[in-house]
């Protein structure tokens, strides 16, 4: 689990430079030349060269080497601070585009697999869902984010009187294409690669022991949805509400339950109890509250 998280994080960081871009269309307010002449000695050291020079009508500005996205962001933020620190009242607070988002919510999948039947009276599988995304590319209304999500949930039931339970841990990552409707909402589409680990358990009365199985499932999600801003508690944070729906598919794994070893004293030569194959396939939806920063 830990290694998977590290892998996802490193993938996100590695992908970030490749998609960096500078938005050259944004214009910054004109500096106060008079003020600059007086404090030239003080500000010269602070002012960054090449920070948004006025375009010359005659001379096209030389294309600058593309800095890293983070650097551009930093330059913009620094410029904003320098402007503020110069005492000059940049009366319009600079609007910073949040790049990260973290979400928590409920994910509900509807699993029609026969292997799910011993563990649930219906097809619903609820999961607590945690998400984390990073916007890696933005051009006008379109942006691409790398989004990872982690889910934990399960069901319990009885199988002809024997208590059963199923826990599902899922981890997925994928690119999310967003179409921004202004700065307060977007529509998104996200395919993602998923890995799910299941732990199935049955308290088998015939052996007097608990039988369990751990299975792995590889699959994908295809989700589409929307997000809307709920407001900014701070200059660099924003609350959002997300809702999405789609389809989840995973590989099937055989449920061969064996004595747990920790509970009960099953016969020495107990053979596994086969409960068919389990696959996480079916429609799914997710609602979550997110914070963007």
């Amino acid at each position: 689990m830990r290694s998977t998280l590290l892998l996802v994080s490193s993938l996100v960081l590695a992908a970030t430079p490749a998609f960096a871009d500078v938005d050259e269309s944004e214009e910054l307010p004109l500096p106060d030349l008079g003020h600059e002449l007086e404090h030239d000695a003080e500000t010269e050291a602070d002012a960054l060269p090449e920070s948004s020079p006025l375009p010359s009508p005659e001379v096209e500005p030389e294309p600058e080497p593309e800095p890293a996205h983070g650097e551009a962001e930093t330059a913009q933020r620094a410029e904003g601070r320098s402007e503020a620190g110069s005492g000059d009242r940049a009366e319009v607070e600079p609007k910073t585009a949040p790049l990260w988002d973290a979400s928590v919510g409920l994910r509900m999948a509807f699993i029609a697999s026969k292997g799910f039947d011993p563990f649930a009276s219906n097809n619903a599988l609820p999961q607590l869902s945690l998400g984390f995304g990073a916007e890696v590319y933005r051009r006008e209304e379109l942006s691409i984010a790398t989004v990872g999500h982690f889910g934990v949930g399960g069901r319990s039931a009885t199988a002809r009187g024997d208590a059963t339970s199923l826990t599902a841990l899922s981890l997925g990552v994928g690119p999310e294409l967003r179409y921004h409707l202004g700065e307060s909402a977007w529509l998104h589409l996200r395919p993602s690669f998923d890995v799910t680990q299941s732990r199935a358990n049955i308290d088998d009365a015939s052996s007097g022991a608990s039988l369990s199985a751990r299975t792995w499932h590889i699959g994908f999600d295809a989700m589409a949805g929307a997000a809307a801003s709920l407001g900014r508690p701070g200059p660099s944070t924003e609350f959002w509400l997300l809702a999405e729906a789609g389809y989840t598919w995973s590989s099937a794994s055989a449920l061969d339950l064996l004595p747990d070893g920790d509970e009960g004293s099953p016969p020495v030569h107990t053979v596994g109890l086969s409960l068919g194959k389990l696959a996480y396939r079916g429609p799914a939806f997710r609602v979550a509250a997110a914070i963007r920063f």
Binding site: M108, D117, H269, P283
Partner: protein, 530 residues
Amino acid sequence: MKRTLGIFLFASFLHGCGDRPSAWDAEASLPLQSQGLEGSVAVLDPSLGRVLMLTAPGDGRLASKALPVGKNPIAMKASEDGSALYVLSAGVEPRLREDDELPSLSIIEGDVNPRLRDRFTLTNPVKDLTLDPEGEWVVLHGSSGIVANPNELVLVRADVPHSAPIAKTIRSFGGRPQRISFTPTLTMPAGPSRRFLVVETDYDVSLVDLHEPERDEVTILLPKRADGVSATPVQVIAHDGEPDDPNDARIAIRLAGDPNVVIVELLPPASGEKKAFKASINIADVGGSPSSLAFVRTDGGLRLAALVPSQRHAALVELSTMVVDTVPLAAPYDGLSLVTEALTDAPDTGDVALLWGKQSSTIAFWSLGKASGTPYRSLDAYDIGAPIAAVHDVPGEAHAHRKLLEAPSSSRFYVLDLNARQSFPMLANTTGFRLHVALDGDRAWALREGSPELAKIDLASLHPTSLVLERPASTAWDVRRADGGRSLIALHGTRAAGEPASLAATVLGAEAPDMARSRFYPGLLLGGLE
């Protein structure tokens, strides 16, 4: 967009609210009925209307296959050779919809690849079934319902696929069927040889001609007792007589608490009558209430033998004259088994019978070839130390000369060698063991129901192998495997307080059983639901 999302969410809601099959919520009821067959073990699962067929594909392996047998199965019986299983189902009651199942009889092949062979739909539910030893017929009886006709029988031709069941109400004089049996093939004075279905009621015996089942049955009225009530039949046997005489087939009827034995001769019918025979009834007094009847060949010809334990004698009835000869017995034997065919060196004249009883610790060999001339020399008694309640035959030819004698009140049983006339006691550590002989005749198993203790007795060497299972067993069956070997399948059907009913099995090799190589299969009732 909103509409699409709404439709998707609604469809998802419906999809998610889909219930799982109701079978997952059906709890099993104990005790679970099981039946050993030639290549499989059948476990009846009434709450799901199915039979779980357990087979052994290989050494220590177990496979389970669920076969539907109709809603509410109520009775299950196996053929004597273990080749077929018959399951009677009551169907859905009350029947309100077209798709509510009617009562039915299912026939399942009992070999290593069990499958449903045939299914017969009935119109009314019945409670019991009697199997033809020759596998041709199944008789369903004991009808139930708001109004029931206890004298109605349903005859099903089990060896003819999809044959129509024949409903037949037998003549009644106030009684109802108590026991149903089949005769061997009897040569008729007129017409082809045939078999009869024998229906014993409270007061009479009816013979249903299986060659023409729609024909009216022949009812044999029994003599009245001193109190004016007709006697009650308790045993009916038949014999074809001499092979070259078509007129000497006979049926004998033993009556409850009555010294008289009814002998029915199947004589030629009167001229002009389109019947196969005419029944002629004779009565012989055997000197006391008999406990067992058998037709036997003696040095004086065919006789009817009757054991009279109260008088410590056996009666031999001459069938033509009804003259009764008595042979004194050393003990009050009440059981008689003909063992002539099981002897390696069978005598040329006369049968050999094994006498045994619950009231005596001796057994006796009765050589009927000496019964006429020197009857007192015809008996050879042995004290084996315990009364005998049952005698188990050993199938097959290799060890047919051995019998297993069961003494439930004792912690021992016996292996009797008919050829050597030796009895070998097998000592158990406690009482209550039940014996089961494997269908291949090579082994016997002794199991104490509800305990994990089990023993195998090799019928060739008489070597016992003691085993202790890891869970208490309710029953154990010796079956043929797909690879030609034999496996023992011990069933553990349990329900502890507060726990659901459950079923597991221990599988081990039958020929060389070793618990170290056994396998325990849990949760068998969950099989076939996925």
